[in-house]
Symmetry: D3
Subunit: 320 residues, 6 copies
């Protein structure tokens, strides 16, 4: 990895009060070049058949991420010292053309990937992992995934459509870009459309950890299980905020009571240190449903946790 | 017109407190048969490239319309005594397929129209007039339109798309279903994408009354002008709530300061009495942007005003 | 009138910042003795058959009235210099017994009245004028009333009940405590339960000024008319905040679009200077419907305007 | 039980997007006939001496229950397949007459009960169990009750009144309709009016599980205890949402910090499977205190959990 | 003026949907060099003794200004075509040192001024004009000012302090940087701390137009008067959003009912075309008091109107 | 301790409904004399460099504390029976002079202390403990402190300033008024400005219990540890509401996900019974960030818990 360019470092709240200056993700500089990790907005919400508004997610997450400081208090990781981190802006969006938007987003991520830049995204709805993983995975190198969510998102179609926030992990498994045996889903719960909603992922070998099992195992065991599942494969971390209990995510489309806490989520993500993290995202923040930004604040903190483990992995890569 | 069936009459708040019972539009009975006027929800919002949420409009307008009573205090019109009015539910929506949704909505309205039922709709975004007018107008019988809005909605395309909330009146003029010389637009204002935004409608003969001209003429003169323009043609009344000043419509996607008041709007719509009103709609209410429902309350009142003039026209039709 | 006791004067925001100290009405001292004017909360809401919450009105109006300063900028009246003004607390309330509550409130006001103290109240719902006027008027000395409202509040019964926020002025006319020929109602509008809603008050000689007539006459003429109607009788000023357009009163139970502005209301109340004002109230603020307090802020300002004209009248009374 | 009439089945969100169509409880059809279970609104709030607004509870719970799907993901129970479920509308309410309202509500429930229909209600305040249990219990067949709440609701009177949201379980025990030895109260906590607040219920043999004891026992043990207490008696499940910690119920009148989580509540209610559940309710949702509906969403989910155990019990009854 | 550098042009919403990309003022590029007009945030709020929060103003105004398009619909002015406009970020702020903050802000503006760049600022509280005008005016070239506000802001001290949002125009007149005879104040109203609040400015020759006089004169006459007062002097336009009626600015510290409308404000500012506008600001937006951003939306539109007249003036300067 | 003066007792909600009468802390009488414990507002927020608004904390905490009743349901402690408790109003504040404000507040507390009155305060920001402890501690009698917070608040300076909400415990240790070895901090977490943020307090012997250690130890062990640390020294309890997880304190300036629950906090404070509690505070409630008052409700409950342990200690003092 090239030397950290001090110029590209983030706006230090120690010096510049947090309420000042335009909002970038975690006060990182706006940059797409000469960075190791890109914080990316993907304001795609044409994959949602339920409550609206995730197109506004990146803007509000940027705003609330002003409150993030430089160093992870629990782990001591200082991502902005380990890597050059930039706010790469938003992917292009065609607001009336979901297919075009997904293609354009994929190209955007592919360009970052080609330059060795690890993407950490703020959605947008939970279709977002589709273009990201299409850009950074290959059938030769399918990814392991740690997936926090209330829903498995492995339906075949929703309202007759194959590419939306209910289907991305099915598509990515079908396309050979995710290894289903290395996909672990944490926090699954809620009412179902049908009793066999989870049959398909289980049949593929996906490790589905419902909230019931989560409680039975306990958090430490869940973490151990997640690490066992993903093993030494390149790992992508995707967090649909509705994996959280709705008190932590009032601003999301499909809240399901009885979910994860922020504490649980923070500890588990921190527990992924040492894995070969190659990207991540936090999706399904709908600002119109939470104008005061509590959901976005939590999302910003989850992005930061993912950034920390990704930065350690990126910093450790020998060819950089 | 057939005798009013008392069974189909609305839930009288004099008897049943307004906070009780499931919400229908203005407490009308849920009915699609044996009615003269259908109050219809059209939760289509795939035509919006700006702020999200109008798919939730019909639900909140139903809820806030509990506050509407039976009789128009200003005109004395009692629409539920003049006509059988029903809440016909929502049009079908394919949440991932704008084209299919517009076709399905059009079929829904065509079925009502075939049975002589006048539709008054709650959007959804301002694409809604497209399927409605396609269903109720014909090239032999193009409609006059009284159009309240901040925007002319006559662009050719938006983000490369031809069917969205910025284009419906261009399409309908092109399709010969609206007579541009009988289209009057009231409340036009706001920042423009380009200086020639309004050239096309003016060239077609549309009467565009900006807020500047509105003030110059005064409300009485505007009303007289609107009546002159539409003449004795069948008239459709469409109200994009952003025609109102944003203080009256905090819950809308594209608010433009400096707009109409509710008082202005009520007086003008009341002034359309005697015209051959064949339908109407109120669009662009975005409940997530106004959870307390102030915008929806105004929208419900505007729907009621349109209902009153439509009910008089419907009651006056000899063949009913 | 006795000399102003400087000790009883209000908390001057020039000295004590407005955000500090417990909230009393307009920062007046808490006092029921040795005062000329009592600011009273009457948190009665058992007279409302529609949206709930006016029991919390006095608390929020106290809170928002922190923003009121000492002197009326338009008229120069300084009520706290003219009179000793106290926050007399709230009337007693029996939360499950409307009748008892109205009796207790009446006794509270009667005690103030017996001591020559003029009451200016914050409701509660619009039943509040009933106990106030019962306490301060008599059949020998019926009151004139300037009444701002969307609704005439002269129904005989509502849901079978005779004492609620839809009936107070009928009761008070029947009881001979208001002279109907000296009752002027300003701002009347909205949908009606029946076409003859306004027949009874008009038949009694009440001067009902609808919003249509308000516009026809113009504000100056309405003011002149109001002064003519009330003449030299003792005058009570009652303001149901739904007389305002809902943009000024989002926190009220029965909002009716197309209403008065705060500017109109301020100018008219100021125009009542010189009349024999003997009391007033502002009612129907529902804080749960407007937690940020915009409605209560307007209510506090309306109370201040009523206070100003009442203080001039009180200061001018020779026997004080 | 009669065969499930497919016509009466609920609106499937798999087919009809959740944001569309008028709101019924959990998208059930509006029906009072030919149903096995009635979802009922009881918008009674004349029993509350504290913060207002629960009269609006049924409307908002209907709206938020759009998000409920068909099948319980944790237990696999599919209530709409087991029973014919209808939204039976709201009970009648006399907004100025608490006694009449309670009588009318009781008649409404008695009529359902006479036809073998199990009621599951959305309040209204927590007086609601009074008319329900009066309608469905008898001194010969007193009910067991699983009662979630911060408060015991067994005062003799409140502000001199015997029938309100602080007294229902005392009245029902006195009337012999609840067996106090089979009444278990979970979540009790908060500040008290007097140190002996809980003496009466404990003296009657009510099993009061405070939050302190809840933690000491642990959730599994609490569930076992609840099952032991209610035994094989017919069981009613009543959930005052303030049993939850206020983060789960910002929209309630008497929030008490330090309460139950939704997860706890879901697991316990699911643990009641196999009991002879004969009805249930969720009360004290005050929408004006939570316009975005987070409390109502939780209430809708609690209703669904109660529905699941009630549907299994109803489906198992031999005479149906 | 140098040729417009297309690269520095703003993000066109016609191409890039308004909900995407990081928020700059009106989607202008972040730039401090090679620009003609700087949009500047000044998040100073240490000058407020009343309700808090204006430090967050620039952030929310940036966010809401996404809704602004390229061209002024009323005047046809296209500021981004006339001038190179940049978002210059925020001035430095020392959050515990008001004096240092004002010095640093002044230096920031002085640097822009030295390079011929016209500043248009978003506050911050209404102390902001102090450092701006100190930077761009001189005793040889005192400015004329068009000042929209409910308050004259010409007190000598507030709570013993000389430099705060109640005093800037007194200081600037004393310092000879504003010509009091060319200062016109529009919208003055509200309760006063003392009856002589306005004596000082009037004595200096300031033209104070209260709301009463505003109505008497009418808007056209006020505009003519404002133009007469400022004459051909260099003009600064300062807009304290509490000049607006509170319905337009719920998010401000000192709202005063009975104020200006957005329509009035837009028309008057547009009427300043042709004057030698050298800068402007919009202040006193407090986002915590209006999280949904309605106040900030209006503020963004007011900034745009000021930008339009400033851009015409800047484009017309011969030496550029 | 002198006999409890019944006149000074609080407003009993059993008699006076909670929604009525002006708001004092927990309905205590307004009094500064003849009391044993003073509930004090300290609306100081000039020590905050982040999100604004805590100056409004005392007002909203008073309002929400209406919901507190007389007796602690978990411990049976009845503080208003043990001690004479008064709402002593707010400390003086100079809104433009932090130093003067801190001096004035200190004098206010010193006066209470001189009269043997124990202060329990509602902030304001977390600078508040500085003037309180300066007033009630001495180098001869340094205090032990139980400190709930996400942040250690022991920086040397923030933005060059030594007296603000990031530094009070460093100053008080330096001044010899807090014994660092008897200072226990609970709930510490969140992102850091630098990796050595916690080195200084640890070096002084402060017992810093991060959330990680909190979980490792368990709540009982943390409580035992806290009791061990403070020993028999006079103890001050300070609660920065951001010690709570943000779901419990949406209205605070620096929320840090993953924090304490209200249940945890209540149990620990109750566990401090028997200690020599000499004062306490709850700080950092920002009402503009939470207008519905959920944070303030929790703060009021935390104040009540501190009041209970302080009242027992005060009642036990022999010389009273």
């Amino acid at each position: 990895m090239k030397g950290i360019d001090s110029k590209s470092q983030f706006l230090d709240s120690w010096v510049t009060p947090r309420f000042t200056q335009p909002a970038s993700f975690m006060r990182a500089p706006f940059a797409t070049d000469d960075i190791d990790i890109a914080l990316v907005g993907c304001p795609f919400d044409l994959g949602s058949a339920n409550r609206a508004g995730t197109r506004h997610g990146p803007a509000q997450i940027r705003e609330m991420s002003r409150l993030i400081r430089k160093v992870n208090g629990a782990t001591g990781v200082a991502p902005f010292s380990l890597c050059r981190v930039g706010d790469a802006g938003d992917t292009p969006i065609s607001p009336f053309d979901a297919g075009q938007s997904l293609e354009d987003a994929q190209s955007f991520y592919a360009d970052l990937h080609a330059r060795g830049i690890v993407p950490i995204s703020a959605g947008g709805d939970h279709t977002v992992p589709l273009p990201v993983i299409r850009a950074i995975a290959s059938t030769e190198r399918p990814l392991a995934v740690v997936h926090f969510d209330a829903h498995s998102d492995t339906w075949d179609t929703l309202h007759g459509n194959r590419y939306n926030n209910a289907t991305p992990f099915r598509r990515l498994i079908e396309e050979g870009l995710i290894d289903p045996k290395r996909l672990v889903q944490i926090g699954i719960r809620g009412t179902l459309f049908a009793q066999d909603d989870l049959d398909w992922p289980v049949a593929q070998g996906v490790r589905v950890i419902t909230m019931d099992e989560y409680e039975d195992l306990g958090r430490d065991q869940v973490l151990a299980e997640a690490r066992r599942i993903v093993g030494d494969a390149p790992v992508y971390v995707t967090y649909d905020v509705d994996g959280l209990d709705p008190v932590y995510c009032p601003g999301t489309g499909s809240p399901e009571p009885g979910g994860l806490s922020m504490r649980d989520s923070q500890v588990i993500i921190r527990g992924l240190r040492g894995l070969d993290v190659v990207g991540g995202d936090v999706c399904e923040v709908s600002p119109p449903l939470d104008p005061a930004g509590h959901t976005a604040l939590n999302a910003a903190n989850l992005m930061f946790e993912i950034l920390c483990v990704a930065a350690e992995a990126q910093a450790a890569r020998p060819d950089r």
